[in-house]
Symmetry: D2
Subunit: 377 residues, 4 copies
Amino acid sequence: MPGNSFGTLFRISTWGESHGGGVGVVIDGCPPGVPLSEADIQPELDRRRPGQSRIVTQRKEGDVCEILSGTFRGVTLGTPISIWVRNTDARPEAYSEMESLYRPSHADFTYDAKYGLRNWQGGGRSSARETIGRVAAAAVAQRALRVSLPGVEVRGWVSQIHEIVMPEPDLSQPVALELVEANAVRCPDVATAERMIRAIEEARRQGDSLGGIVQCGIWGAPAGLGEPVFDRFEADLAKAMLSLPATKGFEVGSGFGAVKLTGRTHNDEFLMKEGRVRTATNRSGGVQGGITNGEPVIFRVAFKPTATIASEQRTVGRDNNEAVLAARGRHDPCVLPRAVPIVEAMAWLVLMDHWMRWLAQCPERAWAVRNAAPAQR
Amino acid sequence: MPGNSFGTLFRISTWGESHGGGVGVVIDGCPPGVPLSEADIQPELDRRRPGQSRIVTQRKEGDVCEILSGTFRGVTLGTPISIWVRNTDARPEAYSEMESLYRPSHADFTYDAKYGLRNWQGGGRSSARETIGRVAAAAVAQRALRVSLPGVEVRGWVSQIHEIVMPEPDLSQPVALELVEANAVRCPDVATAERMIRAIEEARRQGDSLGGIVQCGIWGAPAGLGEPVFDRFEADLAKAMLSLPATKGFEVGSGFGAVKLTGRTHNDEFLMKEGRVRTATNRSGGVQGGITNGEPVIFRVAFKPTATIASEQRTVGRDNNEAVLAARGRHDPCVLPRAVPIVEAMAWLVLMDHWMRWLAQCPERAWAVRNAAPAQR
Amino acid sequence: MPGNSFGTLFRISTWGESHGGGVGVVIDGCPPGVPLSEADIQPELDRRRPGQSRIVTQRKEGDVCEILSGTFRGVTLGTPISIWVRNTDARPEAYSEMESLYRPSHADFTYDAKYGLRNWQGGGRSSARETIGRVAAAAVAQRALRVSLPGVEVRGWVSQIHEIVMPEPDLSQPVALELVEANAVRCPDVATAERMIRAIEEARRQGDSLGGIVQCGIWGAPAGLGEPVFDRFEADLAKAMLSLPATKGFEVGSGFGAVKLTGRTHNDEFLMKEGRVRTATNRSGGVQGGITNGEPVIFRVAFKPTATIASEQRTVGRDNNEAVLAARGRHDPCVLPRAVPIVEAMAWLVLMDHWMRWLAQCPERAWAVRNAAPAQR
Amino acid sequence: MPGNSFGTLFRISTWGESHGGGVGVVIDGCPPGVPLSEADIQPELDRRRPGQSRIVTQRKEGDVCEILSGTFRGVTLGTPISIWVRNTDARPEAYSEMESLYRPSHADFTYDAKYGLRNWQGGGRSSARETIGRVAAAAVAQRALRVSLPGVEVRGWVSQIHEIVMPEPDLSQPVALELVEANAVRCPDVATAERMIRAIEEARRQGDSLGGIVQCGIWGAPAGLGEPVFDRFEADLAKAMLSLPATKGFEVGSGFGAVKLTGRTHNDEFLMKEGRVRTATNRSGGVQGGITNGEPVIFRVAFKPTATIASEQRTVGRDNNEAVLAARGRHDPCVLPRAVPIVEAMAWLVLMDHWMRWLAQCPERAWAVRNAAPAQR
């Protein structure tokens, strides 16, 4: 299978370049009867949209989505849902140098190496604009999943920018959406957020850029999601996250920190709590043997500093001559705030897909869970 | 698709439980004409085999593989290659407590939650014994790939055990296999290796276990492997690695460390070197925009401390009663040494798959690379 | 995988209902560098478009396609190609009875049974309008394949309408396109075509409809396409054809007629001809053991009489009450003429997919064939 | 995906050559908790086994299957089920001419064309022996499906051999298994069966072979199985059947006969019967719009006369020299009797796969059907 689709049963196929007719997604496999209109999708797109604050790119795109198929009278039909967003603010001339020069740490060179040509306008297919389709599809997944599992919640936030680290929040329940959305950097800790914003503004002033970490959790997912051995829940999450532009790392639960513990201090002992099997700690991060265990699924994704910077850098061109390049065009000094809804989107897609897979293979168990109260899952 | 297969064109399907008839793999899509016999596979299986030193499990399995199909007169046919290893040293009675009790941080509880039942002997399907099929398949992938790309090399090693960290080696060329295989812990730095071995022995004595990091590199892969946008080379690597038992994190290139750099200090500037486009640094880890750029692909995988420990732990049972469990049976105080060939195996599988995908979509470019000298790729 | 995608490497996903925003297709995996613009696609869409003659439906749709992504400066990028056609002549009120009544031998009842709801306007997803995406995608496949295999040709025609059977043409080379396109029924034999047209007009006058057979051939395909054992070339053709609306049967080569021959009279003896291995006869229909043998691939597809007729028929409704229904709205008294380009389209898709699969698994052989003159393949 | 797997959720991968270690199958996705042992599979393998009567090949294979994984204490685990049959009666020397000569209408030439080499012993991978894996997997599918849908039945029989046609049986309910199994040719009409057997014996005496038709039905399947638009139930059936060796055609319901009817005489009017929506006739063959409608699914598969005959035929060799060949080795003068269980097997696989797909996408509807009495589905 070519690489522009994701998921096995709730399967999405994204298309579109940064500059061209538009970007979109086709969702195949969505259950029928899910209430859905553009109004359910647009708010998620708005969260990832550029131009919302001083610390992100000033590119102005309405990013207004249109559902072209798969719904009828306000509900899904079970047929493919085609959603697209027209490109409106394309200024390809702003990127003309990219035709001949390879931007450092971008995909210009590798697209040329792979395909022998590329759409150099705005990064073409490698632009973060591609993620619009993912976010739109995830808005659908979210609504579809909630029909079956009303209590499930996915929540991400920025936990680190450069060297500024947020104190670990209480992970036993979802971090409040209001806190995440309360500031431009999507860090739920107010004091940390202010420091992060200042750091990003300073980087912008210096023609530089910053990276950071998005932490994300899934609450309310039942025990039983994920498939041995290759399609482990965390393996699919890892792939989902590393498929996002600018990501360099993924860890679940204790992550790389596990290395400094020992079996005795790392293992999550089981105990009974309110009639359910629970773990005393959650170093497993909600997955054991590739399958969710009912605890919150907690993971972190590392994003590198934005590759596009306003400083001069050495590079080479298509003609193999060395040159110097300084980015023009609009760009984010830090992608982290806009990455939050995208990380969440990928988590929703993995969740919904594995829920459907469980329904298919183990209908008795999945159905019983579906009919149980959230607290008893 | 169910979860026991990996790869799109070089596709493997593993089967088998720890205790049962055996474990094996079916490889579909292997090119014809590749020289192959059991003698090509056995050495790789021997590297992952238990019982080789004091610091790994003492379970004695010959792990002798047999090719049942797909070869004829010493070469592959292009038809499915079925390889299996019979289980011989199964002592299910050693695991009888696992029938009723859930081992902490193991897959016992989650398999029950998902399927409603499990083979509790030796971990069943969640046993590391499943990786035999992966290693055997990767031995085939390695031979098949070398027909087309003779200079490619994959090499992994243990770079950290608990708090003992090996100095960063020269990554511009493969770490020497002889150094990796020279000691029981598969750390190429002799002094570090000795400290690691002592730490593992100490953990065993204390009924405890240790985790660590496997670092791995791919050298000689051409620029052009990997597919936008979901099947990025590093996304497939991330999934491959997180599909291994006991893994908690993955990072490529600068990884989580990228967060502490800025765009200026992180970007890899391009330059010309011996007629090829190269990067001055390799914080990208050999992939840009999801596609290899011809530099070494460098990644790291975090393994948690072995969950099976000889100490008492609280847990609950299938009957939802709380209990205390101390592991019997044989187990590794540290899986890292045996993880090295498994990490390498997954990398070979990703490599071969993407090479075939490139041949299919961009035959002119892939073919030109195939016919170029390794230095000119 | 859900059911709205086709192909493994040249993979298409169609979307859209008869009445709604439009219909379209996303093509993933197309090779880069293929010259492509709307002008390459539109002629194929025009061939399947309704309203072209008295004997097909009078629905007026421009069916003007737009490429939204995947091309740049007139060539393909290797990224997903999104093509769509806006719906313009939707008159849903013409179909209002379909909301409550199940049309006999249509998909109304089964969609309700499967999904619990449906878009009843114009047949929704089950409308033949869905095939626009297939035809557009096949126009791309055709151009992409011809870059590698310039001499390949796919040609279909109407060989039977009701009881009117065309004499078997010379199948050693492609039936001339001019003859097929010379008349409204797409039967290359003029005398037969006239009889067919009269029969269809007579059926229309009587409020009835007719079925028929499309015969189709592939010329110039090299020996070696198709995969054992499930993805045989003819198995994929069979699926492709039976996935078209109104089809009831598929046969390749001797087909059902094989039954009345014996091994001696059926077998195709091999002989040498102009330096190539050929068969003396072609009862195999160009495939042996699931793999093309270099002879023309000849197959036939049976289409039932159009289900929509202007006569009264008994049926039941969503409320389970029995009723009487006579179709209003526009419809074809015979789909065969418009089926020809659709059958050809599916054949191009199968061809291109298997060509790419061969390139991936057996690059040496496929590459040698690619570089050989058509006569020496 | 390579071509040796079938199904999306109940997915099987077969492996093995006619002569080699053995043949087998890995089943991935089977629901857990299905009672299963070798005793459930062996009877189906015995039905397809050679050597059972005078009219089939005299090759003696016990075809004794062994389950290597995926079951525990007599039930399935939800993990991959590996089943194999060892090859025991291989006499490769009987086929030595096949090394250098291409048997007419066999896969010898095309395998060489595709792969550049082949296992020429007994047809290698193209041998009908490959179907053992399918039959074993289908025995599992059958048992798994009956847990959810106890009343479902698949039944095939030989309806035609050469020019001897059986009278159409009552298709409103399954043809009795006892009648099918009562004679060596698996034709439930005794008088016809006797004529068929005589014809086959006569063909054998003359060193010739015969083809025929297997008719098959599925009874008790609920309305709602099958996916628009490519994975229509009948499209998947068509692919399944055309993937069998020696098949040349497939038709469902009215099939090619539909061509001679008109819309008025072909359409299946709906009516209410015992509280269910039914059709007055069944020319649709149980599928409408690619989805089952609750009526029996009736289809027919054409098999060519066995290609291996004891008469002299002209052919060419690997060296491109023309030659004369007369088959030695054991072979069937008519494959039809042994084809019956194989056709049924493929139907079970399609059924089970679509049932699981329905559970995944439309759980409410599928679950309601599962809990309904068979008569009320």
